[in-house]
Amino acid sequence: MKPIRVLIVDDSAVMRKIVERCLRQAGIDLTEVLEANNGLEGLAALQGRRVDLILSDINMPAMDGLEFLHGLQAVENAKGTPVVMITTEGSESRVVEALSAGARGYIRKPFTPDQVKERVTPLLAAAQ
């Protein structure tokens, strides 16, 4: 699998590091890791840049993950980029809403590195 650039959107810096570590443990070669504290910062991070994968929390201040997903639809650089939601949100309706808004998968916290690998690697393989 070729090296990738990833955007991780979560209001917890610790959680962003955990997600990055899980990706590396999954054997994914990360050439660049962009981090954003909320959806607004996530959209700003994509201005003039393209990433291969976006992982986003749902429950965040300023702009939550669902608003971020809707905002992504207007970002030319994000067209076709797989988005996986990583969330404590157990609500089926919120998950369905995320999938309807373009998310390609979701991972429920707490999670194991293997669960991250299972969700993410098929999406990256399909994109390559």
Partner: protein, 163 residues
């Protein structure tokens, strides 16, 4: 607005199974995110469980606050384990980690209760430090409190329910 908060879902009433479900939720969070085991314990006698408290609010079919409270040493250890053994560095990362634990506890708990999963929204976490304070439940409210030992030190988890 989160539809959970505008649709006025039916209220969910706590029952006698909830303490065990809190224990199960906490055990899963510690095992999956920290690779650590916790042991259920009795309330420590005359001793406050710690100086760091992370809280997550719940609103919708249940109005409540989920709190996890532990010592600074335990909070530091939790953050270190969450980061795969890496030192978290400054205190803000330690509080961030404990806030995430509270968030996952609340999320995992509500996912196990019929009517809460789709009917209850979570707030972002808040962390309080200090020891010399008490929390008084709102009129008509009550609390469910469980204790654990983590690396031999007490941790309390409280679900503070509004009436």
């Amino acid at each position: 607005m989160n539809p959970i908060l505008s649709d006025r879902p039916a209220r969910v009433q706590p029952d006698s199974t909830w303490p065990a479900i809190i224990v199960q939720s906490a055990t899963e969070v510690f095992q999956l995110m920290l690779n650590a085991n916790i042991d259920a314990a009795q309330a420590p006698s005359g001793e406050r469980p710690g100086q760091v408290c992370a809280m997550v609010g719940m609103a919708g079919s249940l109005t409540a606050v989920f709190r996890i409270r532990c010592s600074k040493e335990s909070a530091h250890s939790i953050a270190t384990k969450m980061l795969g053994g890496q030192n978290p560095g400054d205190e803000s990362a330690v509080y961030d980690a404990l806030g995430e634990v509270a968030n996952m506890l609340a999320g995992n708990f509500k996912g196990k209760i019929s009517g809460l999963s789709d009917g209850c929204a979570l707030s972002v976490p808040t962390v309080i430090t200090g020891e010399n304070y008490d929390v008084y439940p709102h009129s008509g409210g009550h609390q469910i409190k469980v204790y654990f030992l983590y690396e031999g030190k007490p941790i309390s988890i409280t679900l503070e329910l509004s009436g």
